[in-house]
Symmetry: C3
Subunit: 342 residues, 3 copies
């Protein structure tokens, strides 16, 4: 067999490090496409001059471009035979990615748990994105349920001890970042760190109706090879399951309206794709301020946000039902830290 059958649950060994294939040089083309695919408007990722005035060498590529690129490379090795993408955690952005940088990915298997039915199991990996200088730009943990292919003995169950959230002391503020002279007019909103209260909820109002062509362009751009996103013959109704990361980027871009100054994503505390998204869905978003913290960088505060993507028609601030399960209208529940001027 010359083609890649993907790995099955029994093919993972605790502690092994998998080097993922196809390094990728990212440049201005990926930035332009990101702006075409998502209604992204955060000024730091839109203008070299704005970013320069904030102490950076230029406008970095969107943090989620880095995430999707690093994630996409893991798909052929981690989730080709996945039944479900169960969760994310302990994610941190460690350095900005600039046009011209080349990223590759590697993952270490940090946990394994066979399901009691013996037909599948959960694989935990810590994935790192690494640039052309060998520097880690991003790391996160992800766990997926993967099918078994052969009737092998169950491995010893190891569930990694993950922090529930990334504590503020572990947030990495990019070198040189300085919001002392931050231009709120150019950024689009006057609201600063002190204007947000813990517990505050923001309805981002706007919505985007998704087309098949758009999510396939996006998902290919990240070299994500999961068949379900591209092949209409996988489902009776001919619809393609939209890559969860597409929904993350849509929701994050929509959150500009109310959180225009939550510029940089620096940590991913947790994330769940609550329900599948399909073409024709109109995606909306709301956020909740979960926490706030100071940083040592001048004028830079941190804000912990829950970002929820919902389908049109969802109740205001829909999240979970009385049974504790996600409301059927909820697509995404993401918990992250962003940097915001104080």
């Amino acid at each position: 067999m010359k083609t890649n059958p993907g790995r099955f649950f029994e093919d993972y060994t605790l502690g092994e490090v998998i080097q993922h294939a196809v390094p990728r040089t990212l440049a201005e083309g990926e930035r332009a496409l990101y702006h075409a695919l998502y209604p992204a408007r955060h000024a730091l990722y839109s203008s070299d001059d704005f970013a320069g005035a904030c102490g950076l060498e230029g406008s970095p590529l969107d943090d989620l471009i880095a995430f999707h690129t690093v994630f996409g490379k893991t798909v052929p090795d981690i989730s080709l035979n996945a039944v479900a993408n169960l969760g994310y955690g302990d994610g941190r952005w460690l350095a900005p990615v600039y046009p011209g940088d080349t990223l590759r990915s590697e993952s270490q298997v940090i946990g394994l748990k066979q399901n009691s039915n013996g037909k599948s199991g959960v694989v935990y990996v810590r994935t790192r994105g690494i640039n052309q200088r060998g520097e880690a730009v991003l790391e996160y943990v992800r766990w997926v349920m993967v099918r078994k292919n052969r009737d092998t003995a169950a491995p010893e169950t190891v569930i990694p001890d993950l922090p529930k959230i990334v504590t503020p002391d572990r947030l990495v503020v990019p070198e040189g970042l300085d919001f002392s002279d931050y231009d709120f007019t150019l950024a689009g909103e006057p609201h600063r760190w002190g204007d947000y209260a813990i517990g505050e909820q923001i309805d981002h109002i706007d919505g985007v109706t998704v087309e098949e062509a758009e999510h396939m362009l996006a998902t290919r751009l990240w070299q994500n090879t999961a068949k379900v996103h591209f092949d209409a013959t996988n489902r009776e109704d001919g619809r393609r399951l939209i890559y969860g990361g597409h929904v993350i980027s849509l929701a994050r871009a929509l959150s500009f309206n109310g959180l225009a100054n939550a510029q940089m994503i620096v940590a991913l505390n947790a994330g769940a794709h609550a329900n599948p998204c399909f073409a024709g869905d109109t995606v909306r978003a709301w956020s909740e301020v979960l926490d706030k913290a100071e940083t040592s960088a001048p004028g830079v505060g941190a804000i912990r946000l829950r970002l929820v993507a919902v389908k049109h028609g969802a109740a205001p601030f829909a999240l979970r039902g009385e049974d504790g399960k996600y409301d059927p209208s909820v697509l995404l529940d993401l918990d992250y830290w962003a940097l915001i001027p104080t």
Copy 2:
């Protein structure tokens, strides 16, 4: 409220200058996307070498990339609550925009007229696009009908005295532009300034059928946030209203076939979006030569053109009915000046 409710008619004051948010660095990615979104073929915007042979430092970004970018930034402040985009006038391109340039926009309120029903009014703004060196690259006047939100007294009516057209003496030819050694073969057509007669009409023949994904990609690329372009739940039929600028770019690109040498747009005399455009429409275009003028640059003439976009099925050179109203098949009526080799 953290989100932007947009401005209502009573929120504008005569003479005030509004700085629009989110500066944008444009680069080769936006150029490539422009070519993917529109059948654009004008050689000056396609080839660094062709542009260099015409005295420029390289191939500028399409004049309409500059226009859409500058326009898009104004939407959150000017037209979020607009009932109608009534017209454009007195527009001039003042300097080419090159990959790597960063644009921002500002608008001055130059006219106000409350409607007699007291529920809306017309706002006139002069918008300027400004690059990272503080140079104006573009300016134009636009007037929109905006809803009132509160029952305030009507402001004094001021209607700006706009020139019906930009007179040739006010056209700005980019520094260094020289068409003396213009290569008509590489440009695609032999027709020069002297070959076009005032009153001549050209049917550009080709047509493009528009898809939802395409106009949404385009409109997001210009960071235009108007909900009607993206959100299928805004209309009962689920269609999204196509950004008028998308039709401008489609028609301009189609006009290559017959006007391949009308290279640079230097003025926008007037413009009207006569009827809405929706996905599924097949857009065609025709032009009429309205005027011709000389310039002081070597080999460079100016040609004033009416560019009309129509839906498939329109009568030849359809424009207005006997009642003086636009024919239902007409999407766009644009009056502009372009530079063309003599």
Copy 3:
């Protein structure tokens, strides 16, 4: 008439050289769009660092970007009135194309044969793509059936004597290319030149369902102006005929899964668009190893491949029926040479 009516059969003269219009500077934007439009993952075209480690100055633009760009320029002069694109042959890539390069095209008429009905004829052209330094980067022969417009005498029939395949001694290996230290892990598969057997067939497994927006974006990007690809009013069913080159790129990208190390396309021996492709079709691909050859470059072998694109539902390795005609499920039958590490 200011617009281009295209050439008819009687407008071609044996031996004449046609300079095609609109040179094009290609850059990182075209690379990003290529990755968004096709599931392309070959490492040499994805990463500057990977390409640098293979002795190149950086990651070239995909060989098919060069092909489509050169081809697109010929459409207004060669195939605007074409009834059918009959075949390709004797194609060679002569130098890599890098971001910033500007390509133009020229074609020489090397054969003419009027059909016996007197209403059309076959035109053979040898097309060359030329960069800004005047170097040929690509050449290939193509023959198309073109309508006659006037009742002229038939020209003398000349059918060029084309090689059935490009023999290995004529393959051009890019200067400096060295696969001695090729990183199979980063490239994505362990299979090298010696692992492929002549006659071996590979089912590439994955499929992509095509949307109208995608193929129109692609075809415009290459400045291909053939109406049938863009104008839904050309057919009663409103479908647009998908540019054959779109299918080539889809199939080539799908072939990564099993041929990840067949990095560079260096020759096009033959090609036929067996059946038309339309939006909604799910495209799959299979390959057959037709031949193998050595090259003088370190660690670099050549592999001759048949690449077949089929519609979902095709029989395994579908190609031709018992009558020798292409199976209705076959979209493309392409015969090419690629460079692969030994």
